[in-house]
Amino acid sequence: MAETLEIFGISASPGVGVGPVHLAAEFTAEAPAPGDTVAAEGDKLRRAVTTAVAELEALAYRSDEESAGILDFQIEMLLDPALVEMAEERMLAGDGAALAWFGALDDYIAGIEAAPDEQLGARAVDIVDIRNRVLSALTGRPLEDFAPGSVFVGKDLEPSLFLAHDWTTGGGIVLFEGSVSSHVAMLARSRSVPMLVATGRFEIAPGARVLVDGNDGRAVIAPDDEHVREAKSRKPAARPTASRAGGAIETADGVAIRLSAIINDPLELRAVDPASFAGIGLMRTEFLVTSPADAVDEEKHYDIYRHALDWAGESPAIVRMLDLGGDKTLPGARRSESFMGLRGIRLLLARPKLARAQARALLRAAVHGNLGVLLPMVTVPDELEAMRAIFEEESTALGRRGVQTRMPEIGMMVEVPVAGLMLDRFSRSDFFSFGTNDLAQYLAAAARDDQSVAALYDAATPAVLRVIAQGVAFAEAMKKPIGICGEMASDPRHIPALMAAGLRHFSVAPNRLADIRTIIGGMCSDGRAAAEMK
């Protein structure tokens, strides 16, 4: 008898389903079919696109409005000659129609997948859908459907495949990758198909029985009847953690965790409910700067900080000072500074006009709430001292003019390895926040915007965790608050390890809050899943 195995992921759609596995085949291009001229191959491709459009139109015709909207997007993409033109460039270089189409679309998909925005990245699977449908029309290979009642297991699931499938007899979806923001996740929720994403790759024998528990964010391979009965008897409403407001959540063993919002642009505040967060953990200010005049526009800065403080109410609002250089161009400069050159606090200290205008706006706004200031890319304690001196001088000068100010708490980003390893030397910092995106790329010496070294960047994770665990210990010894505001904190896969490293304050992207809350509510403070404790 097969061994029972539990797999954890993020629930993208609640409910419980059980059925035999359907393991998705990965779609690949056939070997190049030799022979035909470029023109003939082009014609073949255009005919396949026409076929695909007709199929999608037929599917949209018998779908509800929401589904038709999703297919409409795919149809519109196929009607755009740009896709075929991209493939034609490859045909001129000698590829057959199928290989050219596959290659061109894959490049395009990689671009969408790499989008910094999860919502946009989740559209990549729609393009995969288009790619496969045209390829299937080209090669005569049918698109895979699977037996009703099965549990689909694969890297991701294409929307048109979901729509063509009969879900009335149950089943479910378990995705190694996928996204709660994808079109398929939307469809699964509206059809009540249980769905799990981001489980990571796992092995499963063909024909194995799988239980998908979308209420609990787990799948069980070869479940026994007791598993199934227990999962089905629990109602999703029984989760005590799902609706707790205020940005505080308790782990299963009763440790309090704070969840704050990451705000990239003040406009986002409109769409985010302050009651769901323990304030703002990181507000970036780079968006303020589209021209050199903006950078030193003290009033513009002030208005935005006041707005953020009003939004946060009594909770802290932590504003990061301008982090320019690297991938963010300094206005007025011809090109961006190097990632490891004059950026972050280094640039602010080198161009004190920038730093002073921002410091004045922060000092004035601090009167109106619980403001914290984060300094980017601090490397040595002297930088912190120099910035403190600027705040003190500006505060005195404003005071002389009768302007009311208040000294905000001044903390630092922990993103330069040197600072992370020597955190005990930064006792003058009021608080700390790990910036794991930069920390990872500096530790691995691998740029995160360079696809060719992406694997190295990922490989830095264990080292990042080690620096975090050590930093947390130093901060605790100094009795200083410490948290994380890097992308890792918004990625459910990393939450257990971050908890195990001792972090108790997470700043997350607002659209990831629900997932992170669910994950944390289901685990113990040492990062182990609560279910494993029994």
Partner: protein, 114 residues
């Protein structure tokens, strides 16, 4: 009461034969699936050329191509420059600018997911 900063769209202006406008994308999740469909369909309904440029990019993209627009990965907060040349160019710019200002006429339901 509402002191939220919002970059005002500049009025459409004529430069070098182009009719041009600049606007910030304020829609919930930027120019994704449904908004891109709506934008390109409107652009295609005009006989003039329509091109867009995002933030500091130096490249003008075909505003009638959904493939190009999705590829540009336009996020909320991006500054979109739109220009048109030819028949009914001014009308096209006004209509497209108004569409972006109305957040692509999306209701909440689609705005959250599309």
């Amino acid at each position: 009461m509402d002191n939220r900063p919002r970059r005002e769209a500049t009025e459409a202006v004529e430069t070098q034969g182009y009719c041009q406008a600049e606007i910030e994308v304020t829609h919930g999740f930027g120019l994704h699936a449904r908004p891109s469909v709506i934008f390109t369909r409107l652009a295609k309904s005009f006989p003039c050329t329509v091109e867009i440029k995002v933030n500091d990019s130096s490249v003008w993209l075909n505003g009638k191509s959904i493939v190009k627009i999705m590829g540009a990965r336009i996020r909320r907060g991006s500054i979109l420059k739109i220009r048109a040349r030819g028949l009914r160019a001014a009308e096209a710019i006004h209509a497209l600018k108004a569409l972006v200002e109305r957040d692509f006429d999306e209701d909440k339901k689609h705005g959250r997911n599309a």
